[in-house]
Symmetry: C2
Subunit: 287 residues, 2 copies
């Protein structure tokens, strides 16, 4: 496995792979890898001849009061985990390497970003689209891999790829969970022991709400049930719990048959997100 820090180094590798007609799988991450990331790497390995994992804590997707500075980083551990998952190349550029100049051109995520996490984190998805566009052009992947935990992110990136004709396929993989149901997240490391013991209430609440909704088809009642479960079983403060049509993230109507039930909850100072994507026929993994 190679670890590359500059765009020009990666360009050489990618050009060579393209000349040889190799398929390229890209796994964009912010590092501090967990089993969710490794599942993406495993899928990329299965489906592509060259697997590139980017590890880059992207400053432009963090708000001024968010955790960019303190976001957990451990490149040495990440390197070992990535290698064991079959990653061929780690691309770990500095902020200066990724953003040496700024001519003022921006990408605005628009409608799909004005709800859920976008409402709580203004500009977040603009930053995601900026870095993802750059990574897509640098790595020129055949397929790019994202976790369904960031369901809104996947939906917005799908829209980017569709509306701007990126020559690649987005692959979205199911959430990987701890034994007690908590969604794996690099931010779980922030939790105190007490907070960690409360955190599974989030996924429990989503399951209850989904079951309620499938029976009574009343979104408000389902969300209230979830909200009550979290409040009663944890010290969590709810940022949002919403039920939307997926992947367009519009309001649920009588015709909707593909749902995103998504939540963001502060457990202490740590903001945790989770979601279930389902239809009347059952839970579904992909967009």
């Amino acid at each position: 496995m190679m670890i590359l820090n500059t765009i020009s180094q990666l360009n050489s590798i990618v050009d060579q792979a393209k000349r040889e007609g190799k398929s390229i799988g890209l796994v964009p991450t912010m590092g501090f890898l967990h089993e969710g990331h490794l599942a993406l790497a495993n899928a990329a390995k299965e489906e592509n001849e060259l697997v590139i994992m980017s590890i880059f804590v992207n400053p432009t997707q963090f708000g001024p009061n968010e955790d960019f500075q303190t976001y957990p980083r451990d490149l040495k551990r990440d390197t070992q985990l990535a290698e064991s998952a079959g990653v061929d190349i780690i691309f770990a550029p500095s902020v200066e390497e990724m953003y040496p100049e700024n001519g003022g051109i921006s990408i605005k995520a628009g409608r799909q970003s004005e709800i859920l996490c976008g409402a709580s984190r203004p500009g977040h998805f603009d930053g995601v689209l900026q870095v993802v566009t750059k990574l897509f052009h640098i790595a020129q992947p055949t397929r790019a891999y994202f976790g369904q935990k960031d369901a809104q992110q996947v939906a917005i990136i799908q829209t980017l790829v569709r509306d701007y004709n990126f020559p690649l396929e987005i692959r979205s993989l199911p959430i990987v969970r701890e034994a007690d149901g908590l969604a794996k997240s690099s931010r779980n490391v922030y939790l105190t022991e007490q907070e960690r013991s409360e955190a599974p209430a989030i996924y429990e609440a989503l399951i209850k709400a989904k079951e309620e909704f499938l029976v009574n088809r009343n979104a408000n009642a389902a969300i209230e049930l979830a909200s009550n479960h979290i409040t009663r079983n944890s010290s969590g403060k709810i940022d949002y719990i919403e039920l939307l049509a997926y992947p367009d993230l519009k309001e649920v109507t009588g015709d909707t048959n593909h749902f995103l039930l998504a939540s963001a909850v502060f457990i202490g100072k740590t903001r945790l997100i989770d979601n279930i994507i389902f239809s009347f026929e059952g839970e579904t993994a992909n967009v």
Copy 2:
């Protein structure tokens, strides 16, 4: 030569060319070809193994009161001219083919678009970046060709390619002029005989201003000279005449040694643009 109307048709050709390791030259146009476009096609032919010319009057770069509906179109004539210039593939999609859906993600051209043509045509360069991004992803060119007549467009597209790491090279070619100096433009066809006879005053004015500036290094005096020349020798109404640093399009300072002297003038109802890019050492063709 092939004429393709759908993205999926072009995808097949591009995929095949990429597999064979062929270089691809893209010449994006709005059609109604003149010698300026053909010079771009000739350069693309010399430097690449496959030449794709897009012919698409892009609605998103026209303002509500601009000439999208009346913009001249003649695909039959364009086809003959493109073939004679060595174009391999004409890509002529419909508006519906290029914009079937809109998920609301936009590209904002920013600072470099707030002056010159951008000030007179709000949103124009956002539309240019939208269609150019799509065409770059669809045609996956090794090199893309643009005329220096749209100097601001070239500068903004250069910034896009640099800041978003598009894997391609932008080639900019000198303005092609009529015998009397008028810059070739598809919009020249709008001019009445009387207007056509007045139109060369624009380029004359730019030459005078450049010469004045090289002697006295006084931008205001140079612009006034150009402005007076146009007013005295034509019925033209000046939209702007400006001298800026090129390619960053910032204000000229004592350190600047690469200039864009650019103008937009209404002759009757027709808005004509022209420019000279020069340094203290002489006129220069490229960025």
